[in-house]
Symmetry: C2
Subunit: 135 residues, 2 copies
């Protein structure tokens, strides 16, 4: 018999995960989504379902190994759905699940931030490096 209401349970669940704690599963999840390829794949899939080769072309320089690996992990975590059309040759499409779309906002912002603030970061680096070599 439950001693908590459903609302209390939900509140509890919310507080139950703290990425600051090493053993907390949310720390591992954070580690998995804090990944260059994850960010790029998710933002690429924002436009709609895409085939393996389309994604591959979209993300210049990704090896098929990393792409496969990233897509598998995302599928297992429930962020991406995989649809196989058993034709010859096979056709495989990937698309964001509702859960996957729920992370789209933060991830897009991260990518946008990196692209928008490159000049400032580059300048900061030059300043830092100049200071270092002056020792």
């Amino acid at each position: 018999m439950p001693t908590l209401t459903a609302a209390q349970r939900r509140q509890q669940d919310k507080m139950a995960f703290d990425a600051y704690l090493a053993e907390c599963p949310s720390r591992k999840l954070l580690d998995r989504i804090s990944d260059k390829w994850v960010v790029l794949v998710i933002t690429a899939l924002a436009d709609g379902p895409q085939r393996f080769s389309e994604i591959s072309r979209h993300l210049a320089g990704v090896s098929q190994k990393m792409l496969t690996q990233t897509l598998r992990t995302l599928e297992r975590d429930g962020l991406v759905a995989r649809h196989v059309t058993p034709s010859v040759p096979v056709r495989v499409d990937y698309e964001l699940t509702p859960l996957g779309r729920s992370i789209l906002g933060p991830i897009r912002q991260l990518k946008a931030w990196a692209e928008a603030h490159m000049p400032e970061v580059a300048e900061a680096q030059e300043t830092y490096d100049r200071r270092q070599e002056a020792r």
Copy 2:
């Protein structure tokens, strides 16, 4: 002599960085900020300046090597400022720069997402794994 107006230049600069391209510096920047420790350090510093040991205690399980490394990179990229008080023993404080605070939003959301959606992800994993072992 410039063939573009300042506004056009600004627009150009904005478009000039594309993380989808392998050689683009913004791809590397994205790679650096898409990091578990970066996310945790930045969110920890959101509360205000903190000493090395304070951050260390805040992020359970971080080795001092990773913390130092992360802080150095963030300092070089201009996201974090380092203040040394030459007492004995030395006191070192870290704080977010304005540039560092500008990324706080996206990063906080990422951490919050991981903590909030752990149950759904865990369930997705179980479903996935059950499907796999049924083969």
